[in-house]
Point group: D3
Chain length 174, copies 6
């Protein structure tokens, strides 16, 4: 895929920052009154898509999500706070970091529920991949996230090749 001649823009990380707050209603919970894990993943995907959407200014589709741990339970009546920002833009994809907290407003507690890294692909209205602006990291923190995003991408590609090789070896044996 080549986009030479295309006026490649550059944006910074702060421009993509997005925030969602959700009041956990009975509707979102299981029979114990706990937020369903899948419902939380749904919120994470939405807030992640917002950051990618703001950076890319084009339609986006979810391509992958990294390992995620749910380290604190979330109950009906809690406030769920989700923040997202683009860590790095590649040619037609973006890595977005999402962080989630739960606030039990009555008790006055606030704690970290989990963090996620998602990759979104920019597409046009026909679903074809389109290029996105580069991201220029500015603060120390942004530079660290930028480097980490590159490392995670390399690892994902190594893993993909390892799987392909394993499959080829298996087919050769058969």
């Amino acid at each position: 895929m080549e986009f030479s001649g295309h006026p490649r823009l550059v944006r910074n990380a702060a421009e993509s920052e997005s925030e969602m707050t959700e009041l956990v209603l009975p509707n979102d919970t299981n029979t114990l009154g706990n937020l369903l894990g899948g419902r939380l993943m749904h919120f994470i995907d939405l807030v992640g898509a917002m950051a990618a959407y703001r950076h890319g200014r084009t339609h986006v589709v979810t391509a992958s999500m990294e390992h995620i741990d749910f380290i604190a339970p979330v109950h009906v009546g809690d406030l769920l706070i989700l923040k997202s920002r683009v860590n790095r833009a590649f040619n037609t994809s973006m890595e977005v970091g999402v962080k989630v907290w739960v606030e039990n407003t009555i008790a006055g507690t606030h704690c970290h529920v989990g963090s996620a890294y998602l990759t979104f692909v920019a597409v046009d209205s026909q679903g074809r991949r389109v290029p996105v602006p580069a991201l220029r990291p500015e603060t120390e923190d942004e530079k660290r996230r930028y480097e980490d995003a590159g490392r995670r991408r390399e690892m994902r590609q190594l893993e993909l090749e390892r799987k392909r090789a394993a499959k080829a070896a298996e087919l050769a044996k058969a």
Copy 2:
């Protein structure tokens, strides 16, 4: 209702500040792809309840909503940004201000959709009214909102009395 002896707390307006961002999905729209007015009111009520909840630190129920104009249409694919904060606390109720913007991320536009004032009542788990902390306005802006909230409350009470008098007059005639 008297709560003398109750350790009346004081909080400032910034502590109640809440923010929601919603991606408008086909699910939320009418047959023209416009956000349903009632769906927007639902988001306004939720973000308003969050601010009241954070100020009162108790259950809250919606008591009233002031006149609201929807001055810009919202379409599927837009981002809806809602911000709320408590303007003033009365004995067992709070006035919350909500402001709504729509962001068309692809076009890069951002405009004001409407503003609303809601009153929430603080209740315990049995639904009985409970007192809330007072709100201490700090900035010029907060002081103006505090005064305005008082004026709106007086007008609501005058209006209520006018209605009662009209009803009484009507009953007297009959």
Copy 3:
């Protein structure tokens, strides 16, 4: 906007009358089992849109909602009864009145929850305003509502001008 030459129809208020009954399910409630205020506003908007839709026979969008008080709580298991009718039609907009009752069928109680006035604008499939038939009030009650709707509209316009003037004065000072 001019629609001269358009065969302006006339309809009466009864033709627009609409009725909705909703069984309040756990799905619609907060953690106390009370109907969410925003969910109720959503029902009010829907039943209001039906009346406007029946009068205008064209797509409609919500333009504004007047002050609304929620004077009685609504619980899970209650029946919610909503009735609406057009009070008056203006050029391309209509004022609709909505009245809401709650019926606790088991206890055999029935009480008034609140009343609302909404304004809907008639639009074509491109979202452009289109004219609506006039409304001819017939009963005493319909005539009173017709007059009141005119008065509320004048007040909304005065309020709008007051706000514009205040903004202009503010800008002049700055």
Copy 4:
């Protein structure tokens, strides 16, 4: 089950009459913009439950639904009108009749979509069957419905016995 001594009340059919109007939103439709059959059955069950609830003044659960034909398609943007009333009360169950129309408000058409007969059982908060008031038919139409409901019940019981006998015969052969 015996309820002798219980002060058996009597109600008439009109008291149970219920009405729902639903605006068909994109949310309720398949990929062709047609109302999903199952969504329509869901509305039929809700409006039927309302009538049974109003007659029995106790919790109700759906026990059966008779054959139903969907004789006209329903599209996004249509108004769906559903009316229900109890036809006859048995000891702890009630037969409810539901009739559904679709109104295409823009085209000004209104047609019959289908009719359904449902049986609801009255239960207490532990799910145990409880008796319901008898229904006294008053008009000619109500008397005809009352008789028909009795006939349908007999046919359901014959059918049930026929199935049981067939199963017994099958087991005897095996």
Copy 5:
């Protein structure tokens, strides 16, 4: 309607087999924590449509549902298992059988909730009826279902004619 010349395909019943499992969430239940009857009908319609869709390989709409009994209650936290397959294809319609079980996983119980027969009509993207492949029954069980589906169809048509004749007689009297 004639489709001579159309390359009429034949499929067997197993190809249409579909299965859904639903975890009953608070969201799907009434105030007693029981699955709503209408919600269950909605699942039945969905799994039925899947079988018709797989047989017809075209859009399908629900045309009718036979009498259905709900013989066991379903509670929040239960697993609902639904299986469907096409029993017989007619010219442009298909009869689908659906069987529903409830599994209380913690108690280790599993029981039959009900069975339903639905008729779906195959349509193109404009909503016009289109022919579907014939179904060739293979096992003894499939042959029995095939015969039963034919008998049910005849009974539906007799019933339809009886209704029409009754209506005609009524009109003649008037």
Copy 6:
């Protein structure tokens, strides 16, 4: 946590096997008619929870999800097929594997969308961890999955320790 004396049961993998089929409706999609990534994660979590629920026969909560790639787009009107089974049980947790396919019934295509590994924790009705039966792998395939699940668990624990050490080092520097 010690459960000595507890009659530890053993189950095999096939007993936990679960299957869901979902018809992708407009309701589940973004503005391009593509299934939302978060909606897919929600289905994956539900079908995963079913397998864990069937193995553990107790309440379960989602603890983590491994990296997941979405390798094929899913569109409105497609059938989504999800299968899950427990790969290995640890003391109070279970690793579940989920595999997802999309079937475009009209085109007759069927392809793999993605695979996921989730960890669920067994809890009682108070949310306290409870032990689950061991899983005895039987086929070659089940033994491979069992070994892989152990390896993934070790890696997750190493990663956790690495993070803790990094944090400790950071705190020591500060």
